[in-house]
């Protein structure tokens, strides 16, 4: 009980980062630019960096110093690009450098010893289940006529659109689902996830992807199943027979 109640500051920050990036496509308000959850997270990240400078910035500083020639090379490349293309690219380069700094901070957070591999796998499992659950819920609510989701396109399987727009960009959703479902498959493969929750996960995800009509996601889910779950198993021979006409 004590273990459960003990709040870890860096673990909590990692949780916030994951949550903010899950909802990053969602625009909260338009203040000249689109205000996103990550912008609200930034002050908290600054406080954490001030409280634990050694933990968060130390490891990223090591990375930075080790890769110093690379960064210098990039800076030298940036100067002629700015001179040649003009101030338009300055904004772009500033954005890239800001994101690189943010990535170094993320590295400091996620590399910390308090964040275990199991918690990262659990993050992958629950976030994908959450995304798929929201999509399925939206589909049922729209089928009942209670709720009208923002949709991409028309003329889908049931003459419905793609209800992925709740999270902003369907492309992001596809990235998240493909990469983190691969982690969940691996977690199942090494025997850390039980059969029931794995097949519940797979069923929900396939239903959501079928509703979303994301062809690339479906393809990658099946390819990953073949490559990771069915590795060195006899069922592999029957896999393609099942899906081909």
């Amino acid at each position: 009980m004590n273990k459960v109640l003990k709040i870890n500051a860096i673990g909590f920050t990692a949780f916030l980062v994951v949550l903010c990036l899950l909802f990053n496509g969602v625009t909260i308000a338009n203040l000249g630019f689109n205000l996103r959850p990550i912008h609200i997270l930034l002050p908290w990240l600054a406080i954490m960096a001030a409280l634990f400078p050694k933990k968060l910035l130390g490891s990223s500083l090591v990375v930075f110093l080790r890769q110093r020639p690379t960064y210098l090379f990039m800076a030298y490349l940036a100067i002629p690009i700015v001179l040649y293309v003009g101030p338009n690219s300055l904004k772009l380069l500033a954005g890239i450098f800001f994101n690189v700094f943010l990535a170094l901070l993320f590295y400091g957070i996620f590399k910390d010893r308090s964040i275990s591999l199991t918690s990262l796998f659990k993050m992958a499992y629950y976030s994908t289940v959450f995304l798929a659950g929201v999509m399925v819920l939206q589909f049922f609510l729209s089928a009942l006529g209670i709720y009208k989701p923002h949709m991409y396109g028309i003329d889908g399987f049931f003459l419905l659109g793609r209800p992925a727009a709740f999270f902003g960009d369907p492309g992001w959703l596809a990235y998240w689902i493909i990469l983190f479902s691969l982690l969940v498959y691996y977690f199942y493969r090494i025997g850390r996830l039980n059969v029931t929750s794995f097949y519940f996960f797979l069923f929900l995800l396939l239903l959501a992807v079928f509703i979303n009509q994301s062809r690339v996601t479906l393809l990658f889910l099946l390819v990953n199943y073949f490559l990771v779950v069915l590795k060195n198993k006899t069922e592999r021979k029957f896999f393609f027979g099942f899906f081909s006409p």
Binding site: I81, L102, G171, W176, I178, L182
Partner: protein
């Protein structure tokens, strides 16, 4: 299962979704193919094969060259890079991708990294968005932690 779907399609019970229609029946209507053809044509016509036509995203390039008629999709990253930085830039980029691949230790993260790169080629979020940097960091941290525990 596939046979049942084909028979149902033939009988007209179910209809193909529009974005599957792109892939199977009218291949030229696919915006990615359209963009790819346009970019490749312009690249060959410009004659700057080694160093390309200048850096920038598709929207910025369409500001500079208003006669271009790209669709909204930013989906053909290799050809964009080829047009903007030429053969030298494409070779440098693939070298950087290979260097990062070499630093990974466990097989599962290598697979995830390859899939990540393949996805980036067809829906470009590099490197203007935080999700790219978050995922690349997560791939490396999980790889290191996995290598520690499995050793």
């Amino acid at each position: 299962m596939g046979l049942v779907l084909v028979v149902l399609l033939y009988l007209g019970v179910i209809s193909l979704p529009r974005n599957l229609y792109y892939d199977i029946i009218n291949f030229d209507a696919n915006p990615r193919i359209y963009d790819a053809r346009l970019i490749l044509e312009e690249y060959v016509k410009s004659g700057r094969l080694w160093f390309g036509n200048g850096l920038g995203s598709l929207s910025r390039l369409s500001d500079i060259y208003p006669w271009r008629t790209y669709t909204d999709a930013h989906n053909v990253f290799p050809l964009q890079i080829l047009n903007d930085t030429g053969i030298v830039g494409l070779a440098l980029l693939s070298f950087v991708i290979f260097l990062l691949y070499r630093k990974l230790k466990t097989g599962i993260m290598k697979l995830m990294y390859i899939e990540f790169v393949v996805l980036l080629m067809f829906h470009n979020i590099f490197p203007y968005f935080q999700l790219f940097w978050f995922l690349i960091v997560l791939i490396f941290t999980i790889d290191r932690k996995n290598a520690e525990t499995s050793r």
